[in-house]
Symmetry: C2
Subunit: 336 residues, 2 copies
DNA sequence: TATCTTGACGAAAACGATTTAGTAAATTAC
DNA sequence: GTAATTTACTAAATCGTTTTCGTCAAGATA
């Protein structure tokens, strides 16, 4: 590898001058700058990130913490999309990303320790469980942090408008004449609470009473638990005419149950999902759902994080709005 | 941050001794080792990865290169699964992973340059296009490399048994009485070629002639192109009775087309996918498909890569075998 | 007793960059 | 013409480790 010294020799200037020329210091004459830059190119020079980091304490590396007991989020399309856009945005801003984990090389290491070990300049956290002690430790540390879909005081966060999304879906069902609307929601996280609030608001506005058994709990992204919940709803004496599912993917579990009972979507039962992932547009019938702009969520979180790393920036809650996607999975319902 | 110096002061020994004690050199007395380790723990010491790297040239970081024009592979469930298992295996072996890209911070940088910049100890490559000049540059460099689903001479590779998979699926269809079997395959990559070979072998064994129009090209993971290809097949004067799809996900495109024509799977037409991702087990009817062991592919590639980084290891082609998953998407076919 | 080993540790030089505090020459000010 | 300032550069310290040689006592050997 060619180093700054090689360039300095080749140009007949000191290493200090090379460094400054490369980093755009004003005190270097234009000719020298040009000479140095050209030589650097000729010698195929790449700065050594480790040496630079050691001196500057800037790693140009941001950590990504996707905590999810089950599958670390990577195989969850919504999170994959976020990860992908985080990656892209980070790269265009000159940052690489590192997955933060807590067991490197067999030895237990807290998330914070991992960040310090790798000198992450900041971290994007998307987590199911923001009460996790290690997550809290990280959040409370000096390391700049941006959280997704959860807000801490004095920290920037990017949140999807969960309340609005659930409200709009529920309103739509009500609008279409449904009065027996069930909501299979995910684990009771903050996100879920917001969605439930949105759902309830819609029900209240349309003067619909929702019996407790219509509010079923399943797990996000888990087709099996959702299928069970669906079965339970269909077994009720007075089953719902419409069901809101936790997310598009897990809806497949519900769909399976519905189809196996010989029921038709949307003629016998109306459904909607959440997320607006690719899958939903491709399903037959096309799923009515709420699109979460994963791309913008990812980009915004990196933007905010980099701002807080580089300059001063005030903590801010950024709401990324979604969009109603109408499909063919809801029919107009007229009470017999 | 506490450094080795802090420990040395606290223990009254030199930094050199601390380093040696921490790294298990034999020349340090057991008592000193114990003292140093305890103090390190007390002071919550974390070695500075950058400083260590600078000196040792070992970053304990492996690069991951998933090239895919369309979506960098991250949202492709099969690749997500591989990525996830690569990540996990790397972590248990004490490595972090870095995504290799070629445009960091707006300035164009080759994959190889990126690797050097970040001092990656080695790289796992999974790519659609192994002829990409930058990929080739990386492959030919000194950087240890393991490739997935493609083999270079003198390099280790982990390959899925694509030929076997396609062969088994095609054989199964023939076994079930089908004689008009179409194969919608992906772009003409090496993987595709292997699958076509497997398909052809099965056809030959069963004495089936496949008209050229039954071999359709679409794009992996692209439901739209697959839907088009499906439509073209169904429009044929003599349409196939069974279709093999490029992968489980893009099959959804075919399914949509089939259902919209009022056809039933498997009564009117039999289908099978490829990959064996979650989705396939959840679809209704359950998809007959070939399971690719993404988890093992990821783990093996890291194992092989780390071996080649750390000790000497001979280049080796490792075949990861898949598994036939029978679903309900194929029916026995009796020619009228 | 004089020499050789061995064990346990330390001094100091790296690794490749950045940055502070100069310095010498050229330019400007008065 | 001298002093002050500016311009364009350099020397050297530094970041936190690792690692190569020492060193120095204590015990072993002859």
């Amino acid at each position: 590898m060619t180093t700054i010294k090689d360039i300095s020799k080749a140009c007949g200037v000191s290493p200090a001058t090379v460094s400054k020329a490369l980093n755009g210091y004003a005190e270097i004459s234009p000719e020298t700058v040009e000479l140095v830059k050209q030589t650097a190119r000729d010698l195929n020079y790449m700065p050594n990130a480790a040496a630079r980091l050691l001196k500057t304490n800037k790693s140009h590396n941001i950590g990504v913490l996707f905590v999810d007991d089950t599958m670390s989020g990577l195989t969850h399309e919504f999170f994959s999309l976020i990860l992908n856009s985080v990656k892209e945005e980070a790269e265009t801003r000159g940052y690489d990303i590192t997955f933060i984990s807590n067991n490197i090389g067999g030895q237990k290491m807290s998330f914070l320790q991992h960040c310090k070990y790798r000198n992450c300049d900041g971290v994007v956290i998307a987590s199911i469980d923001f009460q996790n002690p290690e997550v809290l430790e990280l959040v409370r540390s000096k390391v700049p942090v941006v959280t997704i879909d959860y807000s801490f005081d004095n920290l920037s966060s990017i949140v999807s408008d969960n309340q609005e999304g659930a409200y709009r879906l529920a309103s739509y069902l009500a609008e279409m004449g449904h009065r027996r609307i069930a909501f299979i929601h995910g684990e009771r996280t903050l996100v879920t609470q917001k969605r439930i609030r949105g759902f309830n608001r819609a029900m209240a506005e349309y003067g619909i009473e929702t019996p407790p058994e219509y509010m079923a709990e399943a797990r996000y992204h888990d087709a099996v638990s959702v299928r069970k919940a669906t079965a339970a709803l269909l077994d009720l004496e007075v089953p719902p005419t419409a069901i809101m599912f936790p997310d598009d993917f897990s809806f497949i579990g519900g769909q399976t149950e519905i189809l196996e009972r010989g029921l038709n979507i949307p003629n016998d039962i109306s459904v909607c999902g959440y997320d607006g992932i690719n899958l939903s547009r491709i399903l037959n019938p096309r799923l009515t759902t709420w699109y979460q702009n994963a791309d913008r969520i990812g980009k915004e979180s990196v933007r905010k994080l980099v701002e807080s790393i580089e300059g001063k920036s005030v903590a801010e809650q950024i709401m990324v709005s979604g969009e109603f996607l109408s499909g063919n999975s809801v029919r107009r319902w007229v009470e017999e």
